[in-house]
Protein backbone atom coordinates (compact mmCIF):
# COMPACT_ATOMS: atom_id res chain seq x y z
CA UNK A 1 0.00 0.00 0.00
CA UNK A 2 2.66 2.47 -1.01
CA UNK A 3 1.66 6.08 -1.24
CA UNK A 4 3.36 7.90 -4.08
CA UNK A 5 3.55 11.67 -4.05
CA UNK A 6 5.40 14.56 -5.59
CA UNK A 7 6.82 17.59 -3.82
CA UNK A 8 6.87 21.10 -5.18
CA UNK A 9 10.57 20.87 -5.92
CA UNK A 10 9.96 17.87 -8.11
CA UNK A 11 11.23 15.13 -5.80
CA UNK A 12 9.03 12.10 -5.53
CA UNK A 13 8.86 9.18 -3.19
CA UNK A 14 6.62 6.45 -1.95
CA UNK A 15 5.52 5.77 1.60
CA UNK A 16 5.19 2.15 2.61
CA UNK A 17 3.39 0.58 5.51
CA UNK A 18 5.59 -2.46 5.85
CA UNK A 19 8.09 -1.34 8.41
CA UNK A 20 9.85 0.93 5.95
CA UNK A 21 11.00 4.11 7.57
CA UNK A 22 10.49 7.53 6.17
CA UNK A 23 13.91 7.95 4.67
CA UNK A 24 13.70 11.29 3.00
CA UNK A 25 13.94 13.76 5.80
CA UNK A 26 16.37 15.95 3.88
CA UNK A 27 14.75 15.45 0.54
CA UNK A 28 12.13 17.78 -0.80
CA UNK A 29 10.49 20.83 0.63
CA UNK A 30 7.69 19.88 3.00
CA UNK A 31 7.16 23.38 4.34
CA UNK A 32 4.08 23.85 2.24
CA UNK A 33 2.39 21.14 4.28
CA UNK A 34 2.21 22.98 7.59
CA UNK A 35 3.50 26.10 9.21
CA UNK A 36 7.22 26.60 9.16
CA UNK A 37 9.12 24.48 11.63
CA UNK A 38 7.11 21.33 11.37
CA UNK A 39 6.77 18.85 8.58
CA UNK A 40 3.63 16.91 7.95
CA UNK A 41 4.38 13.29 7.16
CA UNK A 42 1.59 11.37 5.53
CA UNK A 43 1.02 8.03 7.19
CA UNK A 44 -2.32 6.75 5.88
CA UNK A 45 -2.02 3.46 7.72
CA UNK A 46 -4.81 1.52 9.25
CA UNK A 47 -4.49 1.78 12.99
CA UNK A 48 -4.09 -1.94 13.41
CA UNK A 49 -2.06 -2.56 10.28
CA UNK A 50 0.70 -4.37 12.16
CA UNK A 51 -1.84 -6.68 13.75
CA UNK A 52 -3.49 -7.23 10.39
CA UNK A 53 -0.17 -8.10 8.78
CA UNK A 54 0.47 -10.82 11.35
CA UNK A 55 -3.15 -11.99 11.04
CA UNK A 56 -2.61 -12.49 7.30
CA UNK A 57 0.49 -14.49 8.13
CA UNK A 58 -1.49 -16.68 10.55
CA UNK A 59 -4.16 -17.18 7.90
CA UNK A 60 -1.51 -18.36 5.44
CA UNK A 61 0.07 -20.67 8.00
CA UNK A 62 -3.29 -22.29 8.74
CA UNK A 63 -4.23 -22.58 5.10
CA UNK A 64 -0.88 -24.13 4.17
CA UNK A 65 -1.43 -26.73 6.88
CA UNK A 66 -4.95 -27.41 5.62
CA UNK A 67 -6.48 -26.35 8.93
CA UNK A 68 -9.76 -24.48 9.32
CA UNK A 69 -10.11 -22.03 12.17
CA UNK A 70 -12.80 -20.45 14.29
CA UNK A 71 -12.42 -17.48 16.61
CA UNK A 72 -14.87 -17.99 19.46
CA UNK A 73 -15.84 -14.83 21.32
CA UNK A 74 -18.28 -13.85 24.07
CA UNK A 75 -18.64 -11.90 27.25
CA UNK A 76 -17.31 -13.52 30.43
CA UNK A 77 -19.55 -16.33 31.59
CA UNK A 78 -21.53 -16.83 28.38
CA UNK A 79 -20.39 -20.43 28.23
CA UNK A 80 -17.58 -20.58 25.69
CA UNK A 81 -15.50 -23.12 27.55
CA UNK A 82 -18.45 -25.40 28.40
CA UNK A 83 -19.62 -25.28 24.80
CA UNK A 84 -16.12 -25.98 23.60
CA UNK A 85 -15.80 -28.97 25.90
CA UNK A 86 -19.13 -30.36 24.65
CA UNK A 87 -18.04 -29.69 21.09
CA UNK A 88 -14.75 -31.51 21.58
CA UNK A 89 -16.53 -34.46 23.20
CA UNK A 90 -18.76 -34.83 20.17
CA UNK A 91 -16.21 -34.17 17.45
CA UNK A 92 -13.11 -35.55 19.10
CA UNK A 93 -13.25 -38.91 17.35
CA UNK A 94 -13.72 -37.62 13.83
CA UNK A 95 -12.01 -34.26 13.84
CA UNK A 96 -8.57 -33.50 15.16
CA UNK A 97 -9.10 -30.22 17.00
CA UNK A 98 -6.49 -27.93 18.45
CA UNK A 99 -7.42 -25.15 20.83
CA UNK A 100 -5.73 -21.83 21.36
CA UNK A 101 -6.95 -20.80 24.77
CA UNK A 102 -6.77 -17.12 25.63
CA UNK A 103 -6.99 -16.24 29.28
CA UNK A 104 -5.84 -13.23 31.18
CA UNK A 105 -3.90 -15.05 33.87
CA UNK A 106 -4.92 -18.61 34.64
CA UNK A 107 -4.90 -22.04 33.03
CA UNK A 108 -8.32 -22.98 34.48
CA UNK A 109 -10.08 -23.05 31.12
CA UNK A 110 -7.23 -24.84 29.39
CA UNK A 111 -7.24 -27.49 32.14
CA UNK A 112 -10.93 -28.12 31.50
CA UNK A 113 -10.26 -28.83 27.84
CA UNK A 114 -7.00 -30.69 27.82
CA UNK A 115 -8.58 -34.15 28.12
CA UNK A 116 -10.88 -33.56 25.17
CA UNK A 117 -8.83 -31.72 22.57
CA UNK A 118 -6.11 -33.14 20.36
CA UNK A 119 -3.86 -30.39 21.68
CA UNK A 120 -4.25 -27.19 23.66
CA UNK A 121 -2.05 -24.15 23.59
CA UNK A 122 -2.53 -21.61 26.37
CA UNK A 123 -1.91 -17.95 25.75
CA UNK A 124 -1.98 -15.90 28.93
CA UNK A 125 -2.60 -12.41 27.77
CA UNK A 126 -1.12 -10.83 30.87
CA UNK A 127 2.21 -11.32 29.12
CA UNK A 128 1.08 -8.47 26.86
CA UNK A 129 0.64 -4.90 27.94
CA UNK A 130 -0.98 -4.82 31.36
CA UNK A 131 -3.17 -7.89 30.89
CA UNK A 132 -4.80 -7.63 27.51
CA UNK A 133 -8.51 -8.28 27.33
CA UNK A 134 -8.34 -9.86 23.89
CA UNK A 135 -6.11 -12.03 21.75
CA UNK A 136 -4.27 -10.21 19.03
CA UNK A 137 -2.63 -11.73 15.99
CA UNK A 138 0.82 -11.84 17.57
CA UNK A 139 -0.44 -13.80 20.58
CA UNK A 140 -2.31 -16.21 18.33
CA UNK A 141 0.79 -16.68 16.21
CA UNK A 142 2.62 -17.77 19.37
CA UNK A 143 -0.28 -20.05 20.26
CA UNK A 144 -0.29 -21.65 16.81
CA UNK A 145 3.43 -22.35 17.05
CA UNK A 146 2.70 -24.60 20.03
CA UNK A 147 0.16 -26.67 18.09
CA UNK A 148 1.02 -29.54 15.72
CA UNK A 149 -0.85 -27.97 12.82
CA UNK A 150 -0.01 -30.74 10.35
CA UNK A 151 -1.88 -33.20 12.58
CA UNK A 152 -5.00 -31.04 12.94
CA UNK A 153 -8.21 -30.45 10.99
CA UNK A 154 -9.56 -27.53 12.96
CA UNK A 155 -8.26 -24.90 15.34
CA UNK A 156 -10.65 -23.20 17.73
CA UNK A 157 -9.33 -19.96 19.16
CA UNK A 158 -11.12 -19.28 22.43
CA UNK A 159 -10.82 -15.57 22.92
CA UNK A 160 -10.79 -13.70 26.21
CA UNK A 161 -14.30 -13.04 27.52
CA UNK A 162 -15.07 -9.48 26.47
CA UNK A 163 -17.53 -7.89 24.07
CA UNK A 164 -15.43 -4.92 23.05
CA UNK A 165 -11.82 -5.60 22.22
CA UNK A 166 -11.75 -9.03 20.54
CA UNK A 167 -14.00 -7.76 17.77
CA UNK A 168 -11.38 -5.30 16.55
CA UNK A 169 -8.51 -7.72 16.28
CA UNK A 170 -8.30 -9.98 13.27
CA UNK A 171 -6.22 -12.96 14.34
CA UNK A 172 -6.25 -14.83 11.02
CA UNK A 173 -9.32 -16.99 11.62
CA UNK A 174 -11.65 -18.29 8.89
CA UNK A 175 -14.76 -17.44 10.86
CA UNK A 176 -15.73 -15.37 13.86
CA UNK A 177 -18.40 -17.00 16.00
CA UNK A 178 -19.99 -15.50 19.04
CA UNK A 179 -21.51 -17.20 22.05
CA UNK A 180 -24.27 -15.09 23.51
CA UNK A 181 -26.18 -16.24 26.57
CA UNK A 182 -29.81 -15.43 27.25
CA UNK A 183 -28.87 -14.25 30.72
CA UNK A 184 -27.28 -11.18 29.15
CA UNK A 185 -30.18 -9.04 27.96
CA UNK A 186 -31.84 -8.35 24.61
CA UNK A 187 -30.16 -5.02 23.93
CA UNK A 188 -26.57 -6.28 23.86
CA UNK A 189 -26.31 -6.05 20.05
CA UNK A 190 -27.06 -2.33 20.24
CA UNK A 191 -24.55 -1.82 23.01
CA UNK A 192 -21.77 -3.83 21.43
CA UNK A 193 -22.40 -3.46 17.70
CA UNK A 194 -18.79 -3.96 16.69
CA UNK A 195 -18.76 -7.44 18.19
CA UNK A 196 -22.15 -8.45 16.82
CA UNK A 197 -21.34 -7.09 13.38
CA UNK A 198 -18.07 -8.97 13.19
CA UNK A 199 -19.59 -12.46 13.54
CA UNK A 200 -20.99 -14.70 10.87
CA UNK A 201 -22.72 -16.89 13.44
CA UNK A 202 -24.22 -16.16 16.85
CA UNK A 203 -24.78 -19.14 19.12
CA UNK A 204 -27.53 -18.22 21.56
CA UNK A 205 -26.61 -20.29 24.60
CA UNK A 206 -28.40 -21.35 27.80
CA UNK A 207 -31.78 -21.51 26.06
CA UNK A 208 -32.79 -24.11 28.67
CA UNK A 209 -33.07 -21.15 31.06
CA UNK A 210 -35.57 -19.24 28.90
CA UNK A 211 -38.65 -20.34 30.90
CA UNK A 212 -37.08 -18.85 34.02
CA UNK A 213 -36.07 -15.50 32.55
CA UNK A 214 -37.75 -12.37 31.26
CA UNK A 215 -35.51 -12.53 28.22
CA UNK A 216 -37.47 -11.90 25.01
CA UNK A 217 -35.80 -13.88 22.28
CA UNK A 218 -37.63 -12.13 19.42
CA UNK A 219 -36.52 -8.75 20.65
CA UNK A 220 -32.93 -9.91 20.82
CA UNK A 221 -33.14 -11.32 17.30
CA UNK A 222 -34.60 -8.03 16.02
CA UNK A 223 -31.71 -6.13 17.56
CA UNK A 224 -29.19 -8.56 16.17
CA UNK A 225 -30.73 -8.27 12.71
CA UNK A 226 -30.65 -4.48 12.93
CA UNK A 227 -26.93 -4.53 13.64
CA UNK A 228 -25.92 -7.51 11.51
CA UNK A 229 -28.58 -8.70 9.07
CA UNK A 230 -26.23 -11.34 7.65
CA UNK A 231 -25.57 -13.19 10.90
CA UNK A 232 -26.75 -16.79 11.26
CA UNK A 233 -28.26 -17.78 14.57
CA UNK A 234 -28.34 -21.15 16.33
CA UNK A 235 -30.16 -21.77 19.61
CA UNK A 236 -28.18 -24.02 21.91
CA UNK A 237 -27.70 -25.15 25.46
CA UNK A 238 -24.23 -26.40 26.18
CA UNK A 239 -25.57 -27.80 29.45
CA UNK A 240 -28.45 -29.88 28.10
CA UNK A 241 -26.91 -30.46 24.68
CA UNK A 242 -29.79 -28.83 22.79
CA UNK A 243 -28.60 -27.60 19.42
CA UNK A 244 -25.01 -28.62 20.06
CA UNK A 245 -25.13 -31.41 17.47
CA UNK A 246 -26.29 -28.95 14.81
CA UNK A 247 -23.38 -26.66 15.68
CA UNK A 248 -21.00 -29.61 15.47
CA UNK A 249 -22.40 -30.55 12.07
CA UNK A 250 -21.67 -27.06 10.90
CA UNK A 251 -18.07 -27.40 12.05
CA UNK A 252 -17.78 -30.76 10.29
CA UNK A 253 -19.03 -29.25 7.05
CA UNK A 254 -16.57 -26.38 7.35
CA UNK A 255 -13.69 -28.83 7.44
CA UNK A 256 -11.18 -28.57 4.60
Amino acid sequence: MGRFHTHTDGTVHTHHDDGHRHEHRDVGDHRGYTETGTVRVEVLEQLLSENDRVAAENRRTLRDAGVRSVNLMSSPGAGKTTLLRETLRRLGDGLRIGVVEGDIATSIDADRLVDFAHSVSLVNTSAGFGGECHLDAVMVRAGLQDLPLDDLDLVVIENVGNLVCPAEFDVGEDAKVMVFSVTEGEDKPLKYPVMFRSCELVLVNKVDLLPHLDFELDRFLDHLCAVNPAADVMLISARTGEGVDAWCDRLRRARG
Partner: protein, 116 residues
Protein backbone atom coordinates in the same frame (compact mmCIF):
# COMPACT_ATOMS: atom_id res chain seq x y z
CA UNK B 1 -11.91 -3.36 30.41
CA UNK B 2 -12.77 -0.56 28.09
CA UNK B 3 -9.68 1.42 28.90
CA UNK B 4 -7.51 -1.55 28.03
CA UNK B 5 -9.09 -1.46 24.60
CA UNK B 6 -8.05 2.17 24.20
CA UNK B 7 -4.60 1.37 25.59
CA UNK B 8 -4.06 -1.17 22.82
CA UNK B 9 -5.14 1.34 20.24
CA UNK B 10 -2.99 4.10 21.73
CA UNK B 11 -0.04 1.70 21.70
CA UNK B 12 -0.66 0.91 18.04
CA UNK B 13 -0.80 4.62 17.23
CA UNK B 14 2.40 5.27 19.20
CA UNK B 15 4.25 2.42 17.46
CA UNK B 16 3.28 3.59 14.01
CA UNK B 17 4.06 7.21 14.89
CA UNK B 18 7.52 6.31 16.15
CA UNK B 19 8.21 4.38 12.96
CA UNK B 20 7.32 7.32 10.71
CA UNK B 21 8.89 9.96 12.96
CA UNK B 22 12.23 8.21 12.66
CA UNK B 23 13.69 9.99 15.66
CA UNK B 24 12.31 13.45 14.93
CA UNK B 25 10.26 15.19 17.65
CA UNK B 26 6.53 14.73 17.04
CA UNK B 27 4.19 17.63 17.73
CA UNK B 28 0.91 16.01 16.74
CA UNK B 29 -0.69 12.90 15.32
CA UNK B 30 -3.81 13.03 13.15
CA UNK B 31 -6.15 10.09 13.47
CA UNK B 32 -9.57 9.40 11.99
CA UNK B 33 -11.86 7.07 13.90
CA UNK B 34 -15.37 6.15 12.86
CA UNK B 35 -18.37 6.11 15.15
CA UNK B 36 -18.76 2.39 14.56
CA UNK B 37 -15.38 1.64 16.15
CA UNK B 38 -16.65 2.12 19.68
CA UNK B 39 -13.67 4.12 20.81
CA UNK B 40 -14.28 6.29 23.86
CA UNK B 41 -12.61 9.65 23.05
CA UNK B 42 -11.65 10.54 26.62
CA UNK B 43 -10.31 7.06 27.29
CA UNK B 44 -8.18 7.20 24.17
CA UNK B 45 -6.75 10.59 25.17
CA UNK B 46 -6.06 9.35 28.68
CA UNK B 47 -4.39 6.20 27.36
CA UNK B 48 -2.32 8.25 24.92
CA UNK B 49 -1.02 10.53 27.67
CA UNK B 50 -0.35 7.59 29.94
CA UNK B 51 1.64 5.78 27.27
CA UNK B 52 3.56 8.68 25.85
CA UNK B 53 4.26 10.59 29.07
CA UNK B 54 7.73 9.18 29.64
CA UNK B 55 8.58 8.51 26.04
CA UNK B 56 10.01 10.42 23.11
CA UNK B 57 6.40 11.18 22.19
CA UNK B 58 5.76 13.12 25.41
CA UNK B 59 3.75 16.23 24.63
CA UNK B 60 2.65 15.04 21.20
CA UNK B 61 -0.99 15.97 20.66
CA UNK B 62 -3.33 13.21 19.58
CA UNK B 63 -5.78 14.93 17.26
CA UNK B 64 -8.72 12.60 16.72
CA UNK B 65 -11.35 13.26 14.12
CA UNK B 66 -14.42 11.25 15.03
CA UNK B 67 -16.24 10.41 11.84
CA UNK B 68 -20.02 10.02 12.03
CA UNK B 69 -21.67 6.90 10.70
CA UNK B 70 -23.54 7.66 7.48
CA UNK B 71 -25.56 5.18 5.46
CA UNK B 72 -26.96 5.44 1.95
CA UNK B 73 -30.38 3.89 1.34
CA UNK B 74 -30.91 1.80 -1.79
CA UNK B 75 -34.67 2.25 -1.42
CA UNK B 76 -35.18 6.01 -1.17
CA UNK B 77 -31.70 7.27 -1.94
CA UNK B 78 -31.35 9.22 1.29
CA UNK B 79 -28.08 9.63 3.10
CA UNK B 80 -28.57 9.63 6.83
CA UNK B 81 -26.41 9.86 9.88
CA UNK B 82 -26.90 7.15 12.48
CA UNK B 83 -27.37 7.88 16.16
CA UNK B 84 -27.72 4.21 17.02
CA UNK B 85 -25.63 1.40 15.54
CA UNK B 86 -28.73 0.15 13.72
CA UNK B 87 -28.21 -0.23 10.01
CA UNK B 88 -31.40 1.41 8.81
CA UNK B 89 -32.24 4.45 6.71
CA UNK B 90 -33.03 7.52 8.81
CA UNK B 91 -35.54 8.74 6.22
CA UNK B 92 -37.62 5.71 5.23
CA UNK B 93 -36.50 3.08 7.75
CA UNK B 94 -35.37 0.74 4.98
CA UNK B 95 -32.63 -1.71 5.84
CA UNK B 96 -31.08 -2.06 2.40
CA UNK B 97 -28.35 0.41 3.25
CA UNK B 98 -24.64 0.65 2.65
CA UNK B 99 -22.23 2.34 5.01
CA UNK B 100 -20.56 5.40 3.60
CA UNK B 101 -18.56 6.31 6.68
CA UNK B 102 -18.14 5.29 10.27
CA UNK B 103 -15.70 2.42 9.87
CA UNK B 104 -12.58 4.62 9.78
CA UNK B 105 -9.61 3.55 11.80
CA UNK B 106 -6.76 5.42 10.20
CA UNK B 107 -3.59 7.22 11.14
CA UNK B 108 -3.54 9.97 8.59
CA UNK B 109 -0.40 11.99 9.25
CA UNK B 110 2.04 13.16 11.85
CA UNK B 111 3.63 16.56 12.31
CA UNK B 112 7.31 16.40 13.13
CA UNK B 113 9.88 19.09 13.78
CA UNK B 114 11.97 19.92 10.78
CA UNK B 115 15.54 18.78 11.20
CA UNK B 116 17.97 21.33 9.92
Amino acid sequence: MTLVHELSLAQAIADTTARYADGRPVSSVQVRIGYFRQVVPDSLQFAWELLTDDSVLAGAVLAVEHVPAVVACAGCGAHSQLDLPVLACGACGGTDVTMESGDEFMIEAIDVAEVA
